[in-house]
């Protein structure tokens, strides 16, 4: 079984540019989550999809962040325009049912210069 895959693994962009991160969950996993770890601090929840619907997006920092999951398969997280404080590692995770352990991807390291 393929795990959660994230692309790219690393992205370096300039302040003001746009970046789109992609996550492919484990096949059959309806629940998809985005988390972020900034500057070696705690890993923080961003949002949760159930299939294509946003179940909870209370962790999204501001309206520069837009997440989509068209068709309930892969998800994208777009940051537009990027700011310096957006630098960090963005993790995607998926689970088959809501109370089963999360499977995390290896993350995308975003560096905004």
């Amino acid at each position: 079984e393929a795990g959660v895959t994230q692309f790219p693994s690393h992205s370096v962009i300039e302040k003001g540019q746009t970046v789109t991160l992609r996550c492919d969950p484990i096949s059959g996993h309806d629940n998809l989550y985005w988390y972020r770890r900034v500057m070696g601090k705690e890993i923080k929840f961003l949002l949760h999809f159930v299939k294509e619907s946003k179940q909870d997006e209370s962790g999204m920092p501001n309206n520069r962040f837009l997440a989509e999951r068209t068709g309930g398969t892969y998800s994208t997280l777009k940051v537009q325009p990027a700011e310096l404080e957006d630098s960090g590692v963005y993790f995607c995770a998926s689970s088959q049912v809501r109370d089963s352990p999360l499977h995390f991807g290896n993350g995308t390291r975003l560096t905004v210069t």
């Binding site: 890993i43 923080k44 929840f45 993790f91 689970s95 109370d99 352990p101 999360l102 995390f104 993350g107």
Partner: protein
């Protein structure tokens, strides 16, 4: 306001000895806790969990203890092995019904096992 705290950023333990990682929480509504392990350049992987109806849960070399009155939990690894060297995160879910939703993580403890 950090609701899950891991006050030790790092810990070094001799191979074969016991590793004890600590975690404190402030939200008395938390009733389920998880530990995740993370290797460099990888995502966190689930290790072990405990429900508040228990005070101990064991899985092989890993045991988690929960002290609700002190709002404290700890992860014991015995015997420690070199492959245990990783960052360990304590986490609690933000919803009452499901064990893995909207997890609140601590800042992590980097465990180094010395051969």
């Amino acid at each position: 306001d950090q609701q899950v705290k891991q006050n030790s950023p790092s810990l070094s333990v001799q191979e074969g000895r016991i590793s004890i990682l600590n975690c404190d929480y402030t939200n008395s509504m938390f009733d389920y806790f998880l530990w995740y392990k993370k290797y460099p350049a990888e995502g966190p992987t689930f290790l072990i969990s405990i429900s508040s109806i228990k005070d101990k849960n064991e899985d092989g070399r890993f045991t988690v203890f929960l002290n609700k009155s002190a709002k404290h939990l700890s992860l014991h690894i015995v015997p420690s092995q070199p492959g245990d060297s990783a960052v360990y995160f304590c986490a609690a879910p933000g919803t009452a019904f499901f064990g893995n939703e909207k997890l609140t993580f601590g800042t992590g403890t980097r465990l180094t096992i010395i051969p």
